[in-house]
Symmetry: C2
Subunit: 195 residues, 2 copies
């Protein structure tokens, strides 16, 4: 087996571990915790199906790829809950080290390509990254909404905190932010999310 394909297959096997990184979100039907690979798969399909709502024209292949790879670093760095302020402080350093180790398994050109794509997602500066982030917010929201806000209740999260995070969806999609706002208001009204 030549070196290039060996590296590609080593990386392919390594990312299998993302299926063991569990998130705070629960599957619909009051299911178990979701893992990162499932979350990424779900986001990628949603990104494709909802692309008409992106604020700006997007390269949809790039968005789908961003969605698929954006959590690979969590294989080493673990999942950082969006409302865990302590863990958020060390998140960047943990994820940078992980990015270097894991993407280095690939041939150099692909290491560079995936690193660039990951950084673009993190930096929030392009239409693709802003729209992909909207998916990163919307996907857990529809699951949590289907479970009567169980994830918010479990962590005692308030509407103010949730709105502050979800604001950024607006940067990627005004339309999906409208939907988000509607879902949040319904959950506040139902008592699933304290104001």
């Amino acid at each position: 087996m030549d070196e290039r394909i060996k590296k590609q297959l080593d990386f392919s096997l390594e990312i299998d571990k993302e299926k063991n990184i569990f998130r705070q979100t629960h599957l619909s039907g009051h299911g178990r915790n979701e893992n990162d690979a499932e979350h990424a798969w779900h986001m990628a399909i949603m990104a494709y199906l909802l692309r008409e709502y992106a604020n700006e024209e997007v390269d949809i292949l790039k968005v789908v790829l961003m969605c698929l790879i954006h959590d690979i670093v969590e294989i080493d760095a673990g999942d950082t809950y969006a409302y865990d302020t302590e863990a958020l402080k060390t998140q960047k350093a943990r994820e940078d080290a992980a990015k270097e180790r894991i993407f280095s398994l690939l041939p150099d050109d692909q290491k560079e390509e995936l690193t660039k794509l990951f950084d673009e997602f993190e930096e929030y500066q392009t239409p693709e990254s802003r729209y992909a982030h909207a998916m990163d917010n919307l996907q857990p929201l529809i699951l949590n909404n289907s479970n009567e806000g169980g994830d918010w209740k479990e962590h005692g999260v308030s509407a103010t905190t949730v709105y502050s995070r979800q604001q950024k969806t607006k940067l990627g999609s005004e339309k999906l932010y409208e939907i988000t706002d509607q879902i949040l208001k319904e959950n506040i009204a139902k008592g699933n999310l304290p104001e």
Copy 2:
């Protein structure tokens, strides 16, 4: 919420159930059974990274989408193990009914688009579908190889049977079939796969 986006979000929530459809393949590190959503995510990333080995030029966005959606029908139809000859007889009828029910949740244009993509994958007649099928074979192979052939041992599958399925990888990628052949030979030599 207008009808179109409501349908898109209903479909998005429905496919969450794919995370509860478990396959015969086990995760690396002698892990638990893999589910369909994880398998699709893994295939999609591998398809992108290994696209240089496709026999023919492929529209890689189409391949990635095929990988992401090809098992959605199993939400209703269940997973059919590749070497379960009884279940294989009823697979098409079960999957057709599932396809109609699940894709009908979408707006008509997207129902039509996803149905076409699913059918194209199943029919094996385009470069994209042949290459996507190569991923459907290779992804579980690298997991099973990492687990010393545990999935073959569990089901008492022989090398002849495995080779017969993996033959088709050649149609999508001669190069990935060479790698497959090499991996299978190593497993036969190690006693993981009886001839």
